[in-house]
């Protein structure tokens, strides 16, 4: 990490963020705060995780205007006019999303730290590409690290969602 000399705090500001369809006020925020920090520490949305703070692990994957991004690499103040979607809005109330249910059924969850990022990334992939080939799945998820599972159960979860959705009338 590059350390800089202490300087005066930049002007703090108040702004609004639209997260999961709701407008949130972010009062008196330092403009240097990442989207991940604001989601977690100011809005209390702790579902997006902080593993590397460097855009390498995908644990903080959220959708900004429908595009999957690492929230740790985005400045929150840069998302002022955007539509931000996090893992917290994936399930429909008590009802799990089929990707969430499949990750559980296939054993794709161990410690669970990477899981929210995978839930967002897999959901986005299957919305964009309903029947991806095996290499397409691997490439699409290659920005999401999992240290526990070795990925096989996660691939199985993707396959099972694709098969169940394909079977729908």
């Amino acid at each position: 990490m590059t350390e800089t000399n202490p300087t005066a705090w930049p002007a703090e500001s108040t702004y609004a963020l639209r997260v999961n369809g709701t407008e949130h006020q972010v009062p008196d925020s330092w403009v240097g705060e990442s989207l991940l920090h604001v989601l977690r520490e100011r809005l209390g949305l702790y579902g997006s995780k902080n593993a590397c703070e460097q855009g390498e692990c995908g644990s903080c994957t959220v959708l900004v205007d429908g595009r999957p991004v690492c929230a740790c690499l985005e400045l929150a103040a840069g998302c002022i006019d955007a539509d931000v979607r996090t893992v917290e809005c994936v399930a429909a109330g008590e009802l799990l999303h089929d990707v969430q249910a499949a990750l559980l059924a296939e054993g794709g969850v161990q410690c669970g730290f990477c899981t929210p990022g995978f839930v967002v990334a897999i959901s986005e992939l299957l919305d964009r590409s309903p029947d991806p080939g095996p290499l397409e799945v691997r490439e699409a998820l290659s920005g999401n690290l999992c240290r526990c599972t070795g990925y096989s159960r996660i691939f199985e979860a993707v396959t099972s969602v694709v098969e169940v959705r394909r079977g729908r009338p």
């Binding site: 330092w30 702790y46 410690c111 799945v137 999401n144 999992c146």
Partner: protein, 748 residues
């Protein structure tokens, strides 16, 4: 499987993880997610030098910053100035001298993480830089860098005829790099001071009671004034067995009189926890023409870094298992763990068995080549069986299906040729190999791991089971780190009591006695054993209550599975529960073990587990790029308690082992970690993960609860060595070092 009545979700079933739904919803509270009103953010000032004397330390400029509530140094530590998992040799804060890059010197608590970061920058430290000791093999002859000396432990094992030799002798030197556990959830926790001066510490750890004892000693407080609560753990793999931020956060909270949260960033995490020991080996194997091993000689040095952590136990394992899962009557083994100014090393999944496996399996392949023998046949010929003696003289009394593991790994179908797509080639899209140059290779490796603590350690696990209103509650301090013990505990209670609804309560140190650490593949056996024992005592108490109620003698009431049998009725246990809740706490012990004597002889271990891996790789020999295509495995598990969780342990461990073979290494130069980030420390991604096919060998372990062996560590031991063997097979490069780097392949 026998057909019998059982509660849904009992042993052998695909019971649901109780923490599964919150984890997929993002609702599960990991240690880094904790927050409370008015909390401060703690951060740690760390040494930028591997070895230096601290000339000046002035924290007053940090205290002057608005928003900073506390700054603490060694002068503020009220109790023990040192902590440590086995030996208290690591300063809470360095006072006079720093011994590794990243050693804590001070900590601050402030109202915002950015304020805390600026406060650290404001602290003035002046150093006299000293020459660091960075070569482990020079440590013994170097002036002591610590009052405890530079040799942490040396283990000698000598057995059999020292003059024994064979028709064929092979000799080799090997080296293993430093691996990081790389759990995703950072070291983090929240310390909350109470009115009475006591502290509640919520933290991600593998062993709450050990943390509590170390925090209490350093804060000079009675242990019951520190209450450790297990917060959500984002992976562990050994790196959370030692204290990281526990003492610092607690002391900051005590001084500031406010809750303090600490959460390491990734670069800090790389120096904030212990790693897998790098190691060097020399080995010489003697064998007859028919392949029978006659004698094995081993010399090895493990680099423990600046502080001991669990090095003394790791090096004991390295010595005891340096021959691998093979029969040999004559051994001469010397294994030494030393202190250096490199980052401290300690527990990581496999705990000494991983390093030795690379060396002994490389030797077995050399021997097979020298004998002109199939490497699979050579291993089968020497494979340990029940009744054989280990190098320690201990007779292997439990299940030892080593040959079955090898045959199972080899029996899986070989993979098809890789598709001719860029992403499927070695190097993937980034550094594309030429399809016509790619060579395929296959390798086999076999590993052995002890289960539970060894060498006379008094290893126990406590748990409480309560039955009330048709619901059973398990109270246990066994740390759930992702492995799924919370599921297994529920399955055990259902199996023994026939009650479907089981709640797992992750109990604080104030509520239950220690469960021991989640390590050494021990929780299913130890805490599982405690839960089973407590459940059986609850069942016995129900029978007693039935006897009392029905006016029967105790002998007239018996248990048939989960049914209470009286002379006139058969009642399901769950329906026979008296109105008063029944709650029983118990402590489980395994069979005692012995320390090793001066020749390294003794019954040092409780039980052993084995696994074999076959790896298939595609290699571009000119570019030195490797793709691991498939790994197959046979693993000795005793009994399958949860098929999918078991598969998850096996697949995940196998991929961690593969990572060590081809990409994972903490690069340390002159004591400095050069790659403390996930950009530069490479972890296997979805594009690197091979196909994995697993077979479980179910030979029940006589002493284990339900016959089940621990399953967490065996998968990581031989998968890496199998991958390296496969790369050798593809290229002919000697590859005496793991991880294999592109230059090792391309330039030999």
């Amino acid at each position: 499987m026998a057909v019998r009545d059982r509660a849904r979700g009992g042993l052998g079933t695909e019971a649901a993880r109780p923490d599964g739904i919150p984890k997929v919803r993002g609702d599960f509270a990991f240690s880094s997610d904790l927050h409370v009103d008015g909390m401060l953010w703690g951060r740690t000032l760390r040494s930028p030098h591997p070895h230096a004397r601290i000339r000046t330390l002035d924290v007053t400029p940090a205290l002057a910053i608005a928003g900073v509530s506390a700054v603490i140094t060694a002068d503020d530590v009220p109790g023990e100035l040192h902590y440590g998992l086995i030996s208290a040799d690591q300063p809470v804060f360095a006072r006079d001298v720093v011994r590794f890059v990243g050693e804590p010197i001070a900590a601050v608590a402030a109202d915002h993480p950015e304020t805390a970061r600026r406060a650290l920058e404001a602290i003035i430290v002046e150093y006299d830089v000293l020459t660091p000791l960075v070569d482990a093999e020079a440590a013994a002859g170097w002036e002591p860098i610590h009052p405890d000396g530079n040799v942490i432990r040396s283990v000698v094992i000598r057995r059999g005829d020292a003059a024994a030799t064979g028709d064929v002798i092979v000799e080799g030197t090997y080296e293993i790099g430093m691996q990081d556990q790389a759990f995703l959830g950072p070291e983090s926790g929240l310390a909350i001071p109470a009115e009475d001066g006591s502290i509640d510490l919520h933290v991600a750890t593998q062993w709450t009671h050990s943390d509590r004892d170390q925090v209490a000693a350093c804060l000079a407080m009675p242990t019951d004034m520190i209450r450790l609560h297990l917060a959500g753990v984002g992976g562990a793999f050994g790196a959370r067995e030692d204290v990281s931020m526990q003492v610092h956060a607690s002391l900051l909270a005590k001084v500031a009189r406010r809750p303090v949260k600490m959460s390491y960033l990734r670069d800090e995490s790389f120096v904030g926890h212990v790693h897998r020991h790098p190691a060097r080996f020399w080995m010489r194997h003697h064998a007859d023409r028919d392949g029978t091993l006659r004698r094995v000689e081993v010399r090895t040095t493990f680099d423990g870094g600046a502080y001991a952590s669990s090095s003394m136990a790791v090096i004991g394992n390295a010595a005891r298992f340096s021959v691998g899962p093979y029969r040999v009557e004559s051994v001469d083994i010397e294994a030494t763990a030393v202190r250096t100014n490199n980052p401290p090393c300690g527990a990581m999944r496999g705990f000494g068995s991983v390093q030795v496996c690379f060396a002994h399996e490389s030797q077995m392949d050399l021997l097979a080549a020298e004998l002109g023998m199939d490497p699979v046949e050579l291993r089968l010929h020497n494979a340990l069986r029940t009744g054989d003696r280990l190098p320690t003289g201990q007779v292997l009394r439990g299940a030892a299906p080593v040959a079955e593991c090898i045959r199972a790994a080899m029996a899986h179908p070989m993979p098809d040729a890789s598709p001719d797509e860029v992403l499927a080639r070695p190097g993937g899209a980034g550094r594309t190999s030429t399809a016509t140059e790619i060579r395929r290779g296959t390798g086999l490796a076999v590993g052995i791991k002890n289960l539970m603590y060894s060498e006379g350690e008094n290893d126990t696990a406590s748990a409480t089971v309560r039955l009330a209103g048709g619901v059973a509650t398990v109270k246990s301090a066994a740390a759930e780190v992702g492995q799924g013990f919370v599921t297994i505990a529920q399955q055990i209670v259902r199996e023994v009591l026939g009650v479907e609804e089981v709640v797992f309560h992750s109990a604080s140190t104030a509520e239950v006695a220690s469960a021991g650490s989640t390590s050494a593949s021990r929780q299913t056996w130890m805490s599982g054993g405690a839960v089973a024992q407590a459940s059986r005592l609850v069942a016995a108490a129900i029978c007693q209550a039935v006897a009392l109620r029905e006016g029967l003698t105790p002998e007239e009431v018996s248990l048939d599975g989960t049914t209470v049998v009286t002379p006139t009725a058969r009642i399901p246990l769950a329906d026979a529960v008296p109105d008063q809740p029944i709650e029983i706490a118990t402590t489980f012990h395994h069979a005692p073990t012995e320390p090793l004597d001066e020749d390294g002889q003794g019954d040092a271990d409780v039980s052993f587990a084995f696994a074999a891996h076959r790896a298939v790789v595609d290699v571009d020999p000119d570019l030195g790029l490797v793709r691991v295509v498939q790994i197959t495995t046979g693993q000795d598990v005793g009994r399958v308690l949860h098929p999918t969780q078991l598969l998850g342990q096996v697949e995940g461990g196998t991929v961690q082992g593969m990572g060590l073979a081809v990409m994972e290494e903490i690069v340390v130069q002159d004591g400095f970690v050069k790659n403390p980030s996930f950009t530069d420390y490479l972890l296997p991604t979805t594009l690197d993960a091979p196909e994995i096919l697993a077979t479980f060998i179910e030979e029940p372990e006589p002493d284990a609860p339900f016959g089940a062996k621990g399953v967490g560590e065996p998968p990581i031991i031989s998968s890496g060595p199998a991958v390296v063997a496969a790369i050798r097979d593809a290229t002919g490069a000697p590859l005496r070092r793991m991880p294999v780097r592109p230059a090792d392949v391309a330039l030999g």
